[in-house]
Amino acid sequence: MNNGQMIITIGEGTCGIAAGAKEVAKLLEQRFPNATFKTVGCLGMCHREVMVEIQNEDGKTFLYGNVDKKNLPKIVHFHRGEGSPPEKLLIRSSDAPDTDSGRYLTGQTRIALRNVGQLNPTSMEQFQARGGYQAIEKILRSGITPEQVIEEVKASGLRGRGGAGFPTAVKWGFARNAPGEIKYLVCNGDEGDPGAFMDRSLLEGDPHSVLEGMLIAAYAIGASRGYAYIRAEYPLAVEYFGLAIQQARQAGYLGERILGTDFSFDLKIKEGAGAFVCGEETALLASIEGQRGMPRIRPPFPAIKGVFGKPTIINNVETLSNIPWIINNGGQTYANIGTHDSKGTKVFALAGAIARGGLVEVPMGTTIRHVLEVIGGGSASGRPLKAVQLGGPSGGCIPEHLFDTPIEYHAINATGAIMGSGGMVVTDSKSCMVDLARYFLEFTQLESCGKCTFCRIGTLRMKEILTKICAGEAVLADIDTLEELASQIGPASLCGLGQTAPNPVLTTLKYFRHEYLAHVTEKRCPGGICKGLITHTIQNETCTGCSLCKRQCPVEAISGTIKKPDTWVIDQKVCINCGMCVEVCNPDAILVV
């Protein structure tokens, strides 16, 4: 593998680029002009971006994180043969493979993410060198029938990873048996859940696996046309997936009579335009047809009557990327991973108050605590963790005392949350669960398409009440109204958006009712977040009189004389409690109560 040359690999996913990967790459190229440079997708350790792996001439490898232009000289120094590797930056090396921060990667089982971060997403050769397109080759060359493909997927027990968890093979069976000459396969990459980025990483880190999954799905259901519906907010994903389509078309994996068989399939990318509701199947189809993305009554299900009235299957990105692995390794092998209720693995986007955030793929049945503590490294701030929000605006909060819940559909549903598409946002003690519920209701209210009255008006009323609670203006009866609305909006809504919109409120009321009560009866925000219920004051004994806070204050509420700590005060009548002063205060002299 190594012939005495230095190989430098840099992660250039959206996260990496945002953290400055391009600049680091340029500097490394100047320092090591003779090295071979490789670009890969996101390795999923987003908290350590920019990430660089250097393989020395002797074959030893070193993986670094948090690389920037300031600390880069330390790395350069070491790889020129001087000193030892910079410990703070080193995640792991071939000499010391098992480090605490390296456990982020070793604690995972990567199936859907098998290639992400391992190959250059713009190189079809690298994909093929890792076994890419072997599954579709195997199917077409050895004459495996569509029914046999569906059987294999059925044996895997794979359920849709977009959130609803419907068995993939059953869905495929519906479309396979639906009458009609022309059928469509749609890849749903409209990852709208705030706090979720699994599909983004897959589309931009390993686009060909998703495409191969689409080919296999299309073959199984008998589809000849397809769409990849990708959020416009993911420009890199759109670019790389578009490139993958071109490459596959040139190589004969897309188009008429693929590999000389009767199977023909081609597809187009449709960029989403920013509507959360388009994650819902029938709304997504309306959007592809150029209409407002509004859901419709089912039945007829899309598998019978979908885009342009033709039988259509819509599969999520992560679901599709599992498919080639299942064909190559057998459905039973996949089913051996996980629990009785939930098979295989699930990818989560871990973010929030966690030490090590990023993409995490674990076997079903792993406990939430394992993900947060062993892989995620626990709290980032050192403050105790309070809850985890699973499933975004459709999901719910799971409190710390239930962190031993295994990640499987049944057990997660029993808590009141849902598995969802994989967003996992962690909060610590300095967070307000009422504010979080308000945030989600504001989101769903804005994103409600307006078709169903309960969803359109009900979510607005819920948001109004939550805003009142956060402002300290609510009475106890408001909580009753909130609960009543929450119980009615779900059953009276047509699609998943409205059906699940009350979940964040229901779960926070269930587990954090005391926080609601503190807001209403004591006019106090226990997390110190809600602006209407907190005050900012300067503690003059710790203040140094540097005036930084004054400069940051957008409303000129702070006054005092430079270097005279005793003189500094915040005018409470003017202060809007925005918290800008707290962020800049070096001696931590501003008290928030």
Partner: protein
């Protein structure tokens, strides 16, 4: 400031060219609007009229679609676009403060205002851009700035403004004093 000064001058040939490239059937509505907005930053009235006149898409569908999706805007924009991410991770880590600090330095006092009075910058809130582990994040003309505090957002914007010869209406020149204050 009059909105008029921000109105884009629409190239009619370009719009008809998009129609012939992308399509004139109803299903082309979203990509056509995306092409217009990519070019002009918003959907100018004249471009909309041209689509309606030269395709099978009628006004009700086109405006229906344009007002349904969050991506589209009918109001003109400033010369540079700032997008502040308001995904869950950014929200719980203080995305609000980025808005407060940007609006302050851009001199935007009116809550309904999203473009600075000198048409330099527009500040837009966007749903999750999927860099949650780098929260809170903003994009300035597509370039992402990660792990921001309110003051960082101002610092990046000041640099951007210097590099692009823009004036920030709410910015008072007292940087030197701040720097010495920070080190004390």
């Amino acid at each position: 400031m009059s909105e008029h000064s921000l109105e884009a001058i629409v190239d009619a040939d370009l719009v008809t060219q998009w129609i012939s490239q992308i399509g004139s059937e109803p299903s082309a509505a979203v990509p056509l609007l995306q092409a217009i907005q990519n070019k002009y930053g918003y959907l100018p009235r004249k471009a909309m009229d041209l689509i309606i006149a030269n395709s099978a898409i009628n006004g009700s569908q086109l405006y229906g679609v344009a007002t349904f999706y969050a991506q589209f805007r009918l109001k003109p924009v400033g010369r540079h676009m700032i997008k502040v991410c308001h995904g869950t991770a950014c929200h719980v880590q203080g995305a609000d403060r980025i808005n407060t600090s940007l609006r302050h330095i851009l001199g935007m006092k009116d809550e309904n205002e999203d473009t600075a009075s000198n048409a330099s910058y527009t500040v837009e809130n966007v749903a999750c851009i999927g860099c949650c582990s780098l929260a809170p994040v903003m994009l300035v003309d597509g370039e992402a700035f990660p792990k921001l505090k309110g003051a960082d957002a101002q610092r990046h914007l000041k640099k951007h403004a210097r590099d692009h010869n823009e004036i920030l209406p709410g910015h008072q020149e007292d940087d030197k004093e701040t720097a010495s204050g920070a080190s004390s």
